[in-house]
Amino acid sequence: MSVLSRCSEPRVERGGFGWLLRAEWVKFRTVRGWVVTMAAAASVIVLLGLLSASGDHASCGSGSVEVVCPSPLVGPGGEAVDDKFFFVRRSLVGDGGITVRLVSMTGQIRKPDVTPGQRNVVSGVVPWAKAGVMIKESVRQGSVYAAVMMTGEHGVRMQHNFTHDVAGRPGGVSRRSPRWLRLTRVGDTLTGDESVDGVRWVQVGTVTLTGLPRTVQIGMFATSPGDLTVTQGDLGGSVAAARFTEVTGEFDRVELRGDVSGVWRDDDVGVTVAPDGSAHHPGRAGRSGGAFSVTGVGDIAPAVEGPTSERPLGGALVGLILVIVVAVMFVTAEYRHGLIRVTLLAGPCRGRMLAAKALVLGLVTFAVALPAVAVAFTVGGWILRGNGNAVLPVSPLTQVRIVVGMAALFALAAVLSLALGALLRRSVAAVVAAVAVIVVPHVLATTSVLPDGAAQWLLRLTPAAGFAAQQSIPQYAHVLGHYAPIAGFYPLPPWAGLVVLAGYTVLAFGVAVLRLRRRDA
């Protein structure tokens, strides 16, 4: 095998790499087809995004009357939340606390009907059914709170402000092994403790609730989220359904400390009201002597279902294919026309030449994709909300991450395609390969083709993992949800998904450089 003499780098190279970059930029901008296709990719991202948003209408009914859908309920962090529970509470002024003994947690779950028309209800408690004590700013939905609770299957937890969850000790409750729960307020600091005997206490957690008013509501609560069943679709994919459940917590030895005023009041916070004015699946509470029974339906948790703000980015895939074509051609055209030899005469350091090409392509793609994604995302979002969709709100920082992350996905995918082009040296083969590793896995994983598990593995192991950059609503460990790619949830966090894609890009680029160095041009 012949040895190509490696380029020996002058120690101080002024301008050298910068000049190669300028050369590659001139190359890119002087082929009209590439410039037009890039512009087309940007237009496709924007137009398909706006088009899909325009076709997405939502309306809410109140009986036979169509009404504007309410905007989603938001928690203190700005995220969409569910805040529906039964609260037996009193007012507390200043510091104080509550201690209770939870002696039982029972409930019922509606299962799919066996006989049509006949409700199939079984007794039981769903894993994230909650019963415990809470201090909350007010009974207004979405207000600041902290709570210590027993759950159906996840033991004792201390949660606050919807998105935060700390695990205590596991186990359940029964009359024979009750559980003591305590929540104490000192200033803005709330401390949760639990005990199996009311004597030896274990701290579950301590949280700071900024902006908690001097007067708060303190008491016992119960709530139970819908029973989630995910069934395998006939053609792959999955269908998720949630059914009614409720939970009842039995409390006794209730002890309040501090300046507690007024009497016990019951509140069915956030209960759904039917058109006739009656409550739909209401909670309830009962009292006998010092014992309380609280039954609740709902959940206190971040919302993970609903129209998401990344929805208008669905058209990005088509734009991405156009970008892949340009990226591949940027290098394969040189092989096709023998131009690669001229390029290597101008820049004989092959690795640096390919690096200059990749950098120019990556920057151009990023610069094209960033405004296109930003417009599709922002304007598409306005259109979605204008059409009555209760889009789940996300923080400005998350919005920036989605737009910049998707532009980065485009740039990385372009460089990966370029590397494949340099390896395969043929346009069609390289385009097919790039689409097969970047686009196809995402399509397979997010349509009803594959089982959820297989879809998740595809989005962990293939370059398509980078699409995680667009996920706006995170997956919460303490909220049972249908966290599948088909529902918009990626198995990797956004940055990790981009890292996987970047890893493949670096790998392909490295192999392409090695190959370029070893072979005669």
Binding site: M1, S2, V3, L4, S5, R6, C7, S8, P10, E13, G15, G16, W19, L20, R22, A23, E24, W25, V26, K27, T30, V31, R32, G33, A333, E334, H337, G338, L339, R341, V342, L344, L345, A346, G347, P348, C349, D520, A521
Partner: protein, 305 residues
Amino acid sequence: MQAIIEVAGLRKRFGRTLALDGMSFTVPPGQVTGFVGPNGAGKSTTMRVILGLDGADEGHALIGGQPYTSLRNPLTHVGALLDAGAFQPGRTARNHLLWLARSQGLGGGRVDEVLRQVGMGSVSRRRVGGFSLGMRQRLGIAVALLGDPPVLMLDEPVNGLDPEGVVWMRGFLRSLAGEGRAVLVSSHLMSELEGTADRLVVVGRGRVIADAGVADLIATASRGRVVVRTAACSEAVSVLGRAGATMVVTDRDTVVVSGLPSERVVAVLNAGGLPFSEVAAHRVTLEQAYMDLTADVVEYRGAAG
């Protein structure tokens, strides 16, 4: 940098074919060096090794004492024309030169200069895809000249040029050498180099078989032979034969004599009383000299042989 190409002991194998078999030669400045040999003799491979495009199994090729790949802004040291078709068809002539200029830190002014120099100023903003082979060849020359390099390597530069273009090219190559540049021009047709090259490196089967000035090469090929034109052809053959000469009768009245200087030939003929119309030193053409040199290394002969 010294305007000189040194090639020493290049050896390269493509599978079972030995493409280069100890290729060694030097291209000095101020001259046009013809690089000739039959197709497949290793001319293009040698040029590609010099330019760092191909690797060699053994040996080295240096430009001004350095391998091509370690030259900074290589196009300002060496200008090369390898393949007249190496263009992106959608790019204009000017833009093709512009990206090359940018890669060497040169400006657009230099681009317009070389375009004028090769006579393409008027078509500079046309796409290369619509160019004739001759125009592409001129653009290729412009690429080679872009960095105003002291060393030029042109692979078959007159290919595809019309007769006017061939004349232009010859004058152009001479003027480049006249400016003190080292110019290496490959060709498989000797006639293209006649009157252009000062020196010839003749190669066959991957090695140099002759490396000399054009005049020396012709003289060597003529090998002191004498042409005798005489009506008494057969008599002349017998008397000269007795005098120790070797002869080839090339025509009814023409004999090419080797082994005797022309004065002895005249004396022998006079002594035999034989009439002759001409006794002259035999001068082979460059083409003939080349044919003689490469006769045993041509790999692909035509059917008529």
